[in-house]
C-alpha cells in the first residue's frame, strides 16, 4: 500500500481494508476497536460507494450491539436499511435479522417474534428456498430465545 500512489482507488482500498479489520475485531468481541475501524473506513470511503457504506453501517450496528447501546444499535441498522435500499433483497433480510435480535435485547419480545415471523413469511413468498440461507439461523435462534422467556 505504501508504494501505491494516492488515488481514489487507493482511498477505496484503505477503506475496504478497514472494513475487513472491523469484521475481524468484531469476531474478537472488541467493540471499541471495531467502531474505530468502521468510522475510519467510512471517512475514507468514496461517496458513491453505497454498497460498502451500507455494509459498514451494519458493522457499526453490530459493534453497538456488543456495547449494549440499544438506541444506537437500532439507529445504525435502520440507517443500514436506508443506505441499502435498492440492494439485493437478501441484504435487507440479513439486516432485518440483525434488527430483530437488537429488538430482543431492547425487551420487545412480542414485536421481535412477530417481526421474525414476518421476515420468514416474506422470504417464503419471494423465494421459498431463501429461508434456508445462513443468516436466518439467527432468526430461528432469536425466536427460540423469545419462546424461552
Amino acid at each position: 500500500m505504501v508504494n501505491i500512489e494516492y488515488s481514489p482507488f487507493k482511498q477505496r482500498l484503505i477503506s475496504l481494508l478497514d472494513g475487513i479489520r472491523a469484521y475481524l475485531t468484531w469476531l474478537k468481541g472488541e467493540a471499541d476497536q471495531e467502531l474505530r475501524f468502521v468510522h475510519r473506513a467510512m471517512d475514507n470511503l468514496p461517496e458513491d460507494d453505497r454498497i460498502t457504506h451500507a455494509q459498514l453501517l451494519n458493522g457499526e450496528g453490530l459493534a453497538y450491539k456488543l456495547q449494549l447501546k440499544q438506541p444506537e444499535v437500532i439507529q445504525s441498522f435502520e440507517a443500514t436499511l436506508l443506505a441499502g435500499e435498492g440492494m439485493a433483497g437478501l441484504f435487507t433480510a440479513m439486516v432485518n435479522c440483525n434488527l430483530v435480535s437488537a429488538q430482543f435485547l431492547h425487551d420487545r419480545l412480542r414485536q421481535t417474534f412477530s417481526n421474525c415471523q414476518s421476515i420468514l413469511r416474506l422470504a417464503n413468498e419471494t423465494d421459498p428456498g431463501s429461508k434456508d440461507l445462513p443468516f436466518y439461523n439467527h432468526l430461528y435462534a432469536t425466536m427460540s430465545l423469545v419462546q424461552l422467556e
Binding site: 435485547l105 431492547h106 445462513p134 443468516f135 432468526l139 422467556e149
Partner: protein, 295 residues
C-alpha cells in the same frame, strides 16, 4: 426452534453463528432440565469457538459456568469463572459474563459482592436501554438484598423488575431463581405489588411441591412445565372463531360455509393458529387451546 437454528448453521458451516445457535440451544435444554445434552452441546460449542476467537470461547465458558451452577457443581463453576475473568473485556462485563458472575456469587452466598458487581454495570445498562439484561439481573439483585435482610430495598427492586417485565410477560427469569424468588413474590403480593402479574408468576411456580427451581434440583423443570402459559402472539377474534370450529367435526369447506368465508381464507387462519400455538395439527392445536382456556 433452537434445534432448527442449529441445523441451519450446521448446513452452512459458519463457525461464529454456529457457536451462537448452539448457545441458544443450550439455554433451551437447560430450561427443559436436559442438562446432560446441554453439557454435550456446550462441548461442541467450545470446540467451534476455538476456531473463531478467544471471545467466542469465553462466551461458551459462560454457558459452561451456568450449566455447572444448574447442576450444583459450584467448585467447577468457580474455577472456570476464575480462569476467564481476567480475560473479559468491558463490554462482556456488562453482558453475559455479568449475569453468570452475579449468579455465581449469589450461589456462593456472597450477597454483598453480588450487589457490588451489579451496581455500576446496571446503571450503564439502564442508560443503554438493554432492558433484557436488566430484567435478567434485577431478580438476582432483589434476592441478594433480601438475603441481606434489606427487605424494603429488595421489594423496591423486585417491583421495578416486575414493572419492566410485565408488559412482555417474562416468566423464565423469575422461575429459574427458585423458591427464594417465589417467597419474595409472595411478600410482594401481600404488599399489593403488581398483583395480577405476581399471581400469574406464582402460579407458574409449583408451590405445592416445594419448587426449588432448576438451580437446586435438576430433576425439576418448572420453566418447561409452564412454557405454554403465555402466548407470544395472541389469536385474533377471527382466529378464535375458527379455533372454536376446529373443535367440532366440521371440515374446512364446512367451516368456510358456516363463517361465510372462502375455504382458502379459513386455511390461512388455521395456519396462523398453528403457528401462534406452536402446534402442527388440528388435534394438537385443540389440546393446546384447551390448556390455555381458549376454548
Amino acid at each position: 426452534m433452537a434445534r432448527e437454528s442449529v441445523a441451519l448453521s450446521e448446513q452452512w458451516h459458519q463457525a461464529d453463528s454456529w457457536q451462537y445457535t448452539l448457545s441458544c440451544l443450550i439455554r433451551a435444554l437447560c430450561a427443559a432440565g436436559n442438562l446432560e445434552e446441554a453439557f454435550a452441546i456446550n462441548q461442541r460449542a467450545m470446540q467451534l469457538a476455538v476456531h473463531v476467537s478467544p471471545y467466542y470461547f469465553r462466551l461458551s465458558a459462560c454457558d459452561e459456568i451456568w450449566l455447572n451452577l444448574a447442576k450444583g457443581e459450584l467448585p467447577k463453576a468457580v474455577q472456570r469463572c476464575a480462569e476467564i475473568e481476567p480475560l473479559v473485556n468491558g463490554c462482556e462485563k456488562r453482558g453475559q459474563f455479568l449475569w453468570v458472575k452475579a449468579s455465581l456469587l449469589y450461589a456462593q452466598g456472597l450477597f454483598n459482592k453480588v450487589l457490588k458487581v451489579l451496581e455500576e454495570p446496571m446503571r450503564d445498562l439502564e442508560q443503554g436501554g438493554a432492558s433484557w439484561y436488566l430484567i435478567n439481573l434485577m431478580p438476582i439483585q432483589a434476592l441478594a438484598l433480601n438475603a441481606l435482610s434489606r427487605d424494603e430495598d429488595a421489594l423496591t427492586t423486585l417491583s421495578h423488575c416486575l414493572t419492566l417485565a410485565e408488559p412482555e410477560g417474562y416468566v423464565r427469569t423469575f422461575l429459574e431463581r427458585g423458591t427464594p424468588m417465589a417467597r419474595l413474590l409472595q411478600t410482594a403480593l401481600r404488599q399489593g405489588i403488581e398483583p395480577k402479574y405476581g399471581t400469574d408468576l406464582l402460579s407458574a411456580f409449583d408451590l405445592h411441591g416445594e419448587a426449588e427451581g432448576y438451580f437446586r434440583d435438576e430433576s425439576r423443570t418448572p420453566a418447561s412445565r409452564f412454557s405454554g402459559a403465555y402466548l407470544i402472539d395472541p389469536l385474533s377474534e377471527r382466529e378464535l372463531e375458527v379455533l372454536r370450529f376446529l373443535n367440532t367435526n366440521l371440515s374446512t369447506p364446512e367451516i368456510a360455509r358456516e363463517m361465510i368465508l372462502a375455504p382458502s381464507t379459513v386455511r390461512t387462519h388455521v395456519r396462523n393458529i398453528y403457528v401462534k400455538l406452536g402446534t402442527h395439527g388440528r388435534i394438537e392445536a385443540i389440546q393446546k387451546a384447551k390448556g390455555l382456556d381458549l376454548i
